[in-house]
């Protein structure tokens, strides 16, 4: 049965299987295992970011395209729900309407961007998406009458979701279901074609697959899932604003999670997002201890304690990111599941 649920893509390594089940079990029983607002918040963030990162991995890891506009779609989802709930009666109808409108907007936008720029090279797509996303972020903060500007929107949620536990389980269930859908997609014939395009575009085209169509579809699918993740995040926070969804820093976070977790494997998203969100919340505490210790210690160069200042946690993850791209292109999951690629073809794919 597990094989069917996971679409036949089992985590081919005992350590990985153990880690994944530990994460899933902790998330499933988070409200009981880790009582307290902060830890429940961390758990919900992990759920949302696993989904978001998985949808980004569909683009980066499976299709081989780098988009810097993923936060834009994340934001569209958040603003769709936020605006609907802030303007209409706070009920399930408003949530549905907002989500649908956001999905339609994301679909149209990702389709246009894809058609416009996926024909040419990866670099071009990356540059265009960066420009469009930054424009969108400015737009959202400028149209303050509609989006709440820099302050964002706070809104009321339906009665049921006011209980934190219920809201958490909505986020958890929806994220898990969508994650399994993504797992299904990448293990379908469609997903194989995406992999083929990533490995060798010309050959895929020569075999009769229209690469532009497949890439555009993957781009749209990734955008739609990101939109849903944004909607879930907004429902959890009961707030939407530029800093929680559209900020370029979040785009960087997503990149870090995908690469550290492992590109081209959906489980990488789970590991990467969990590690990152936990680090984001708890690494700073650890660094604070080191910072204080170094500051007190004599005979330490003045800049050294600053390297461990709690606000510099991203520095260390950035270093990890660079090392990952060079030495572990398939990330933590790639290392765990196949330390030595036996098949030369796999080796080639790892080197890319």
């Amino acid at each position: 049965m597990i094989n069917t649920i996971l679409s036949g893509d089992l985590p081919r390594s005992r350590i990985l299987a153990f880690l994944l089940s530990a994460i899933v079990i902790s998330l499933a029983f988070a409200p009981f295992l880790f009582p307290g607002t902060r830890s429940l918040d961390v758990a919900a963030r992990v759920c949302v970011f696993v989904l978001l990162v998985a949808s980004y991995d569909l683009l980066l890891g499976y299709t081989g395209i780098v988009s810097f506009a993923h936060t834009m779609f994340f934001g569209i989802g958040g603003y769709g729900v936020g605006i609907a709930l802030a303007r209409l009666e706070p009920g399930w109808g408003a949530i549905g309407l907002g989500t649908l409108a956001a999905l339609a907007a994301s679909l149209a936008l990702s389709f246009v961007i894809g058609l416009f720029s996926l024909r040419v090279r990866a670099i071009f797509f990356a540059m265009i998406t960066l420009a469009v996303a930054s424009f969108f972020a400015i737009l959202a903060s400028q149209l303050s009458g509609f989006t709440g500007g820099e302050d964002g929107l706070s809104f009321k949620v339906p009665e049921l979701l006011r209980s934190r536990t219920a809201a958490y389980y909505l986020v958890f269930a929806a994220s898990a279901a969508l994650f399994l859908v993504l797992l299904r997609v990448v293990n379908s014939p469609f997903g194989r074609v995406l992999l083929a395009i990533r490995e060798n575009e010309f050959r895929a085209e020569a075999l009769g697959y229209r690469t532009v169509t497949y890439r555009t579809l993957a781009n749209c699918l990734g955008a739609l899932v990101a939109t849903l993740a944004g909607a879930l995040y907004a429902l959890w926070l009961r707030y939407t604003g530029p800093n929680t969804t559209l900020d370029f820093a979040i785009m960087i976070d997503i990149l870090l999670m995908v690469v550290i977790g492992g590109m081209g494997t959906m489980y990488g998203a789970v590991i990467g997002a969990t590690l990152f969100v936990v680090a984001q919340n708890y690494l700073q505490d650890a660094m604070k201890l080191v910072h204080e210790a170094l500051k007190g210690a004599p005979a330490v160069p003045t800049l050294l304690p600053e390297l461990f200042h709690p606000d510099r946690w991203l520095l260390w993850l950035g270093v990890l990111f660079v090392i990952s791209v060079y030495y572990f292109p398939r990330g933590i999951v790639g290392q765990l599941s196949s330390p030595r690629p036996s098949n030369p073809r796999q080796r080639a794919s790892g080197a890319r």
Partner: protein, 318 residues
């Protein structure tokens, strides 16, 4: 770059934009002020973008961390100006220090970050983005997270008044520096042996290699020069805004990308026209319809790509 068949249409477009704006703005004095501001901004963007587009043309490398050199240049200039007491005498050392620091960092960056990932676009984008994250954090470590003031020297504040036309002194200075650099760059590229090799390398680097020249070495030189120019541009731009934050690099990157996409990836002439177009349009639209100003660059990019999908001056490679 064949001078007999030089494509003047983009330059006509530039003139058309300026004249069209004159027709819409109606008051000539305002128009002159805006045009000078637009030229100053465009030339500064050109200084920062030219290295990036050449690097791409030569080695097919897109450095997403180019903004880093801009930020570093601005920070270094702010520190030097602080030491020198913010006088005009400090200006030249500040600019030189910014260029030197950005150039050295560019050299290190090329060796450590970019060299291992030639020819792998996906990794290039990832690794340069990663390098940017780390370096931004290091800038925070050295200078702290707060905004650094970068005041203009006394002599460059205020404005000249000619009739009823107000011309900000700093903008005039920026235009002069920008035009000088453009002229220098044009001479180096068009009149020297190195320039010839660079242009040939952009057209067809394999052929240049086959002739026995080391494109790799040329590339490193262009990368370092481009980084130094970005540092200078960052210093000038920081002074334009009179304050420096680490976000300055990321902000400019978006404009720079738009400029080099408009110009055609790898084309210096295209980069020049694109930068002036973006600079002028930003100022005109900012005056005529401030609400639309933010979208004007994206709209410009879309329109130009619809007209010429490879940019204004397409470079031979596919």
């Amino acid at each position: 770059m064949n001078s007999t068949r030089f494509d003047f249409v983009p330059f006509l477009l530039l003139a058309g934009v300026a004249l069209g704006a004159l027709a819409l703005i109606r008051t000539p004095s305002t128009w002159v002020t805006l045009t000078v501001a637009g030229l100053a901004m465009g030339l500064l963007i050109f200084i920062m973008a030219s290295g990036l587009t050449l690097v791409f043309g030569l080695m097919d490398v897109m450095n997403f961390a180019h903004g880093l050199f801009i930020a570093l240049g601005a920070y270094i200039a702010a520190s030097v100006m602080k030491v020198m007491g913010g006088t005009l005498a400090g200006l030249v050392p500040a600019m030189l220090a910014a260029m030197l620091a950005a150039g050295v960092l560019g050299f290190a960056f090329e060796r450590v970050i970019i060299k291992p990932v030639y020819g792998q676009h996906l990794k290039q984008i990832l690794i340069t983005t990663g390098g940017m994250i780390v370096a931004e954090q290091l800038i925070h470590v050295v200078w702290g997270p707060d905004l650094q003031p970068l005041p203009r020297p006394e002599a460059l504040r205020g404005a000249f008044l000619i009739g009823d036309v107000a011309l900000e002194k700093y903008r005039i200075a920026a235009v002069v520096v920008g035009l000088t650099l453009f002229a220098a760059l044009a001479i180096v590229l068009n009149r020297t042996r190195v320039g010839l090799l660079i242009r040939a390398g952009v057209e067809n680097s394999e052929m240049v290699e086959a002739m026995g020249y080391r494109v790799r070495r040329l590339f490193v030189a262009v990368f370092v020069a481009g980084s130094a120019l970005a540092g200078l541009g960052g210093a000038l731009w920081g002074m334009y805004q009179e304050a420096v934050t680490v976000a300055i690099g990321a902000q400019m990157m978006v404009l720079i990308f738009i400029v080099i996409i408009i110009g055609g990836l790898g084309s210096v002439t295209g980069c020049f026209v694109g930068a002036l177009l973006v600079g002028l349009l930003a100022n005109y639209v900012g005056y005529l319809a401030p609400k639309v100003a933010l979208g004007s660059n994206i709209l410009l990019m879309v329109l130009i790509l619809l007209w010429r999908p490879q940019g204004l001056y397409p470079v031979g490679k596919s």
